[in-house]
Amino acid sequence: MRPIRRQRLAVVLFLLFGSALTIGVVLFALQENIDLFYEPQKIVGGEAPIAKRIRAGGMVEKGSLDFKPEGLGVSFVLSDLRGSRFEVRYEGLLPGLFREGQGVLVVGQLDASRVFYAKEVLAKHDENYMPPELVDMGAES
């Protein structure tokens, strides 16, 4: 009976230690790898941090899409349709469903002049679908 009791103790200790370790590592990894989302209003208003990886979203303003003459550089303006707007610069391929007048999400960093340098541009995949991050935006005036 004794080895069993000792083993049970070992199991309990192992469980406690293991779950504490797991929780710690998970929390640490979460802290490192979450991206906060900011609406155009917050980006313009200076609430969003500079030079930190964040997500932002908005509607691509009509007529704002501008391809550089060389390379894959492109810039466009995202707005919340309520007067807050900011410029996004991106180097790379835009997703297939990217269009002016539609909602997109961008992932990247703001520079000091509040230009958003995007590493990723995500467009919606469906007419009925909009990133929930953008949902609240249209409503508030």
Partner: protein
């Protein structure tokens, strides 16, 4: 005490359901708070879909109306179309369409194919009126009273359930008062 350990999964699950339930309410677009409710319907000068006549904000006055934002590119709008036809037939309520960011030719064909529940349809090709209305996506439906005040806003399709549960009480209160 020892037996209590076996309830741990159940307790964990209850916490999970609580998170899901909370998250679910946060992301429910039909619950969009609308700053527009109680305000005047925004002004516009836009053409009518079939006649081409330019309509202004005053055309909405004088009657309680449903204002329905739709487009041919929106599958849900097709789904909703039958409900609107039925509402029109059953209640005789005035329904006004806003054809949102759409192609006029396609829109006219749509109405001749599926039927036209609208008194008239305002063409918002640029989406500017949609911007003023804070449109999140098609379809959306507003209740506008006889004085041109927005009384209710619904995001997503109108169906039998939300018609009875949400639209009718407001329409009733408007006609009683």
């Amino acid at each position: 005490m020892k037996r209590a350990v076996f309830f741990a999964p159940l307790i964990g699950f209850v916490a999970l359901v609580a998170i899901l339930y909370a998250g679910f309410h946060l992301n429910d677009p039909s619950r969009l708070p609308s700053a527009l409710v109680g305000q005047r319907f925004p002004g516009f000068q836009l053409p009518e879909l079939t006649s081409g006549k330019v309509l202004g904000h005053q055309t909405l006055l004088g009657e309680i109306r449903l204002v329905n934002v739709w487009a041919t590119w929106c599958p849900t709008c097709l789904h909703e179309h039958t409900t609107l036809m039925n509402i029109r037939r059953a209640t005789g309520l005035s329904i006004v369409g806003i054809n949102y960011r759409d192609d006029g030719e396609k829109a006219r064909r749509w109405l001749s194919l599926y039927g036209d529940p609208y008194d008239f349809t305002i063409v918002d090709a640029s989406g500017d009126l949609g911007v003023d209305l804070g449109v999140y996506g098609a379809p959306e439906t507003f209740i506008v009273d006889a004085d041109g005040i927005i009384r209710f806003r619904h995001v997503g399709d109108v169906n039998d359930r939300n018609w009875n549960r949400e639209f009718l009480p407001i329409l009733d209160s408007l006609t009683d008062g």
